[in-house]
């Protein structure tokens, strides 16, 4: 150490970003943004997708070199060239995508994360130290379990514990509660809040959940389109203020009111069982009836069999046993049946599950009907101008932002890919609709539009099965709510009478 230089203070660290600008080629992701996180505070960073939140924290963590601007750690200007230098300063980050290695045990993951992994690891000694560390922590994780075998909630706890184990004094959390039940989210954030109050830690949390901002954060900074849109003390703001600052002047699609009568049964699952890729039972004897004119929501923490259930309905996975009936007819998820029953799908990760990335927007929009008139003559001769005309109409109707109908769909943003799928699936008459996390990772405008379309389909008499990890979305849209846990339906309630705590308990399997 240089004589005369005072060491960094221990305990919570403050971090400031001053006049940060980040350009990727012509695109300006961050434009002169300022962020001040006081030491020992819980700071929320709000913004829509693409507002520059991730870019900003990645500049702080040394993933990117900001084009302009400085980072101050503990009031001292620092050049952070890579994540290792950020770690050395006591800065840590919990990523939205897990950074645990699934095939390894929790203990292996924790030891591996250290900057000084010994050349030969003495597991007896390390285990003893880890046990001692865990004894001081308010939540527990199974050290010897493989990460792939523990629940998403436990993984998130592991990620946070890992950062505490590494003695971080400034912690960035990127949407930390997206995989947790409301109860788990409160537990984890409450415990972190206690550490902040004790002065051990400063937290910067990226989130879009106003409830968590209001309950746990001291300060908030709001970004919009790469610019600082506002900041202030949470106590002086309302969720409405924050939402307006986030969205700006943009007009959101208005959701139609819930109207119409519940009709006859459309989609019936009878004792449906399916296995996952590892051959374990993922969906276990579930039965459910969805009637026309109703939205049945399936709640649950991800990884409880929802994905496999949707894959069976989409024809991407074979059911082990059990039947699916659509309007009384046995349904085996082939193209002919989907067409006959006007069954449509909004799968999760639409670019992967519902599109061919390298093909044009127009082609992708035509997938359902491309081999029929007017798109094809005789079932084989394709009429390109019909593709184009239909695509142009739907691009306008569904506000799909694309340069031309011939642009490859993979070049579109997430929201616009989902809009294109929406145009294809909901563009005609719909009798049964299956939607899985349709708004995951999308901005307000896209979410509002998709919610409005789903509600409109319901009002026109479609039977809608909505699988989602977002409870707010489910409560807003569903008529009935079913909770899925470990492949089974464990709880059912009318959405209007649903009790959030009780649903949270069932999601956690209690």
């Amino acid at each position: 150490m240089i004589i005369g230089e005072t060491p960094l203070p221990s305990g919570a660290l403050g971090v400031d970003a001053v006049a940060m600008t980040m350009r990727f080629g012509d695109f300006t992701a961050l434009d002169n943004v300022e962020l001040k996180v006081r030491p020992g505070s819980f700071h929320a960073l709000l913004g829509e997708n693409g507002a520059g939140k991730s870019t900003l924290v990645k500049c702080i963590m040394g993933y990117y070199r900001a084009t302009e601007g400085d980072v101050l750690v503990g009031g001292r200007e620092q050049t952070i060239a890579n994540p290792k230098e950020a770690h050395a300063l006591g800065l840590g980050m919990v990523y939205q995508h897990f950074t645990l290695v699934p095939a390894m045990t929790v203990a292996e993951n924790l030891v591996l994360a250290r900057d000084d992994v010994p050349a030969v690891v003495n597991w007896t000694k390390e285990k003893k130290e880890l046990d001692a560390f865990l004894a001081r922590m308010p939540f527990k994780v199974p050290l010897d379990a493989r990460v792939s075998d523990i629940s998403a909630g436990e993984r998130q706890k592991c990620e946070i514990l890992k950062q505490l184990y590494l003695k971080r004094r400034f912690l960035i959390l990127d949407e930390p509660t997206s995989v947790l039940t409301p109860g788990e989210a409160d537990e984890v954030l409450g415990m972190l809040r206690a550490m902040v109050v004790a002065g051990d830690l400063t937290i910067l949390m990226i989130t879009h959940k106003f409830r968590e901002v209001m309950a746990f954060a001291d300060d908030v900074t709001i970004l919009r389109r790469g610019k600082l849109a506002g900041h202030g003390k949470v106590a002086e703001l309302t969720p409405d203020d924050m939402a307006r600052t986030m969205i700006g002047a943009e007009q959101l699609t208005v959701q139609p009111p819930r109207v119409g009568e519940v009709g006859e049964p459309r989609l019936q699952l009878t004792k449906l069982t399916a296995r996952d890729d590892a051959c374990a039972i993922a969906v276990h004897g579930v039965s459910l009836t969805v009637r026309g004119g109703e939205i049945v929501g399936i709640a649950g923490v991800s990884g409880n069999g929802q994905r496999q259930l949707v894959e069976v309905l989409a024809g991407q996975r074979e059911a082990e046993s059990g039947d699916i009936h659509v309007r009384g007819d046995l349904y085996l998820a082939n193209r002919e049946e989907m067409r006959r029953h006007k069954m449509f799908l909004l799968p999760e990760e639409p670019l992967k599950n519902a599109c061919v990335g390298g093909m044009s927007v127009a082609d992708n929009i035509a997938f359902r009907e491309f081999d029929r008139a007017p798109f094809a003559s005789g079932g084989w001769w394709l009429n390109r101008s019909a593709f184009r005309k239909d695509a142009e109409r739907k691009i306008g109707l569904y506000k799909i932002k694309t340069r031309t109908p011939d642009t490859p769909i993979s070049a579109l943003s997430g929201g616009n890919v989902q809009r294109a799928v929406l145009a294809r699936e909901l563009g005609g008459e719909v009798e049964v609709l299956i939607a899985a996390n349709p708004c995951f990772g999308l901005d307000f405008a896209a979410v509002a539009q998709i919610h409005a379309e789903i509600m409109a389909a319901r009002n026109r008499g479609a039977a809608v099965l909505l699988v989602s990890e977002d409870l707010d979305e489910l409560l807003e849209l569903s008529d009935r709510l079913v909770v899925m846990f470990h492949g089974e339906f464990v709880h059912e309630a009318r959405a209007s009478e649903a009790d959030l705590t009780e649903i949270g308990r069932h999601m956690a399997g209690h």
Binding site: N82, P83, T99, V101, P102, M104, V120, C279, E318
Partner: protein, 308 residues
């Protein structure tokens, strides 16, 4: 038995001896490939590395008179080819399987070209340890003449098994192979880890090649390898990326390969070529039994281009 004939016992004995002799190159290549694949990359070029290793070992042994210098040269040649593979793969949008096939052809061709003058001369061969000194029966003595390289290979398997669990390098290789995102988030360079893993894998494969030219069959010619390199890559898959299982799989494969010659030596000549195909039939059978269309491979490193 006074005349030294041991009747039908010849067959299991020959299979045993053959298992050890034939399995050594499989063992080295599969352990090397195991390291490379655990780091998240497939090096199909090991067939070329094997042949380059055989050629360079023979050449150096011939020039220097020391077979061990030949083994070292084979290892270094292999490591260099591994570095070439890793180097090309670290460029953006390069597929490791395509590069591997190119290097397989490149290595084979280069070895034949450079090895032309080595077909005639005789190089110093690797010594073997006589574990059969206690027996008078020549077949037993022959079966128990075991090469030191085999013993080294057998020792490497458990060491690797241990190293994957308890050393920093083992953990880092597994991290790079299971989740490159996690490795990057921890501040490690995935390309660097894979470069080293591929070089070590090439080193071992080169040594496997030196066994071919310096012990069994023990000469240099263009028909030296009959696809051992590429078969060993497949062995790694059905050994589920576990070094100990690589050892057993190599032994089983070597034993099966020795079945044809062994049966021939006791006079069963019908179906000789069929018995020679035993290892491949064994591979197919194991693949069919252990695989299922409803399940992804268990134990496969998540970053491998075949599982992603």
């Amino acid at each position: 038995m006074a005349d030294g004939s041991i009747g039908l016992w010849t067959v299991p004995l020959a299979v045993f001896g053959g298992a050890i002799r034939v399995s050594t190159p499989f063992l080295f290549v599969s352990l090397g490939e195991c390291i490379t694949e655990r780091s998240g990359r497939i090096n199909l070029g090991l067939e070329g590395t094997l042949i380059m290793g055989a050629m360079s070992a023979y050449g150096i042994s011939y020039l220097s008179g020391s077979p061990w210098l030949g083994v070292l040269a084979a290892g270094i040649t292999g490591a260099l080819l591994g570095a070439l593979h890793a180097g090309i793969c670290s460029l953006p949008r390069v597929n490791d399987i395509a590069v591997g096939i190119a290097l397989m052809l490149f290595g084979t061709g280069l070895a034949f070209y450079l090895g032309k003058p080595l077909i005639e001369p005789t190089a110093a061969r690797l010594p073997a340890i006589d574990f059969g000194w206690w027996s008078d029966i020549p077949q037993v003595r022959a079966a128990l003449r075991i090469n030191v390289l085999f013993l080294i290979g057998v020792a490497i398997a458990p060491i690797l098994f241990w190293a994957f669990r308890t050393t920093r390098w083992g953990l880092l290789i597994r991290t790079a192979g299971e989740s490159s995102d996690a490795a990057r988030a921890m501040g490690y360079s995935v390309l660097w880890i894979r470069l080293r893993a591929t070089m070590v894998g090439g080193f071992l494969a080169g040594i496997g090649g030196s066994f071919l030219s310096l012990f069994y069959p023990g000469s240099w010619n263009e028909g030296l390898s009959s696809g051992q390199g590429i078969t060993a890559v497949a062995l790694v898959i059905f050994a589920r990326w576990d070094p100990m299982l690589c050892l057993w799989a190599s032994l089983a494969f070597g034993g099966a390969a020795a079945l044809g010659p062994a049966l021939q030596s006791v006079g069963v000549t019908s179906g000789y070529h069929l018995f020679n195909a035993a290892p491949y039939i064994l591979t197919l059978a194991i693949m069919i039994i252990t695989c299922s269309p409803k399940r992804t491979l268990t134990g496969a490193p998540a970053e491998l281009s075949i599982t992603r």
